[in-house]
Amino acid sequence: MPAPQLLTAGIELALNKLLALDPASQQRLIPLNGKRLRVNLDELPWPLTFAFSDRVDILTDEHQVDCTIELSVTTLQKLQDVSQLSLLIQQQELSLNGDMHTAQSFSNLIKELDIDWEEHLSRYTGDVIAHQSFKTARRFHHAALSRLHRFGEILRDTAMDEKQLSAHPLAVETFSEQVNQLRSDVARFEARLLQLEQQKGK
């Protein structure tokens, strides 16, 4: 089975479904119409070429494109903050060749995706059920986050104070400083020792 095509079919289907859920995405696709953007992910053996029209087609071809981006999956997550772009290029975590405008328009297309899930659900369930479902889901989400936070605190207190399995971050910092100090002292002592050995040799 052609694996690259299975992957691109999955990404293409998901991306176009998401874009279809956001009516404003058609407007953001206009500057990209007819453009092609290639993404070379370090983790993938094949390039992903995004071809834009009134939707997005994803190919694995290696023909000429308007813009090429080379990066890893971890860098992809950092790209959510566009202000980090220059820094990532300087740090050589990201390579960008070709038309910068295409890359920016693609970034805007994804970043500005605004889907009203409640509205879409209401088409199938009606307004009341959709609203109540999302209200319950939001409440559950907040409760789950709060419990998770509390659980983290209990786990930290138990590990640090009761069982003494780990140290407090401040203690770790102090210890690291002391280790650094000791390393400097040893280095100075080693240098001094070497100097004395050389003097004795003369």
Partner: protein, 257 residues
Amino acid sequence: MSEPGQSQPQSDDQTHFGYKTVEKQKKASMVADVFHSVAGKYDLMNDLMSMGIHRLWKRFTIDCSGVRPGHKVLDLAGGTGDLAAKFSRLVGSKGEVVLADINNAMLKVGRDKLRDKGILGNVDYVQANAECLPFPDNHFDLITIAFGLRNVTDKDKALTSMFRVLKPGGRLLVLEFSKPEFETLSKVYDLYSFHLLPKIGKLVANDSESYQYLAESIRMHPDQETLQLMMQHNGFEQVTYHNMTGGIVALHRGFKF
């Protein structure tokens, strides 16, 4: 080696229709009958028969097409327009896609499907025989024929015609059933296509004969190397092929220089 129940053409006026031998002039109308019969359920049957994998084979064909905005593309035996829909977006408003099929019923299904998807403007629909294409010389940047060449009566004539209408530098992509690479796969494939496939055809499209013909026509189609040689003999250069799903399907690619 001949398959059981298979007959051989006795003269130049005869050809294969599955395992049967028929007059050459009758084959086109017999193939047309098959596709008239299955046109309405063509997409559903393709998905069922291949378990959806035909979509990946077609995606691979598009990946190998090198098609660019502004290109002219001929999708021969284009059927229900799977390739043409994608090419239409890839060539853009300055490009041109011609969806051609010898069968009017298939062409109508393809046209309706593409229009329902909002694909208009750069797609033309032409009922044409691949053996005598009604287009000027050196016209297309790309020609594709997906699961259509095995139904053509005179394949050499069709390849010559495609070569004529292709621009220098253009490419031909032939996606077609071929010969499985492994003996075990071949046996499983035979069991599936001769026993299960006609039953699925009977159940879904109420037509087992057409799917019996499908299985037989696949066996009678030239294997990978033979088709490669045929393309070379008809003028194509740098002819290569890529097996997919163990050679059940192969994509042949050739260029005109």
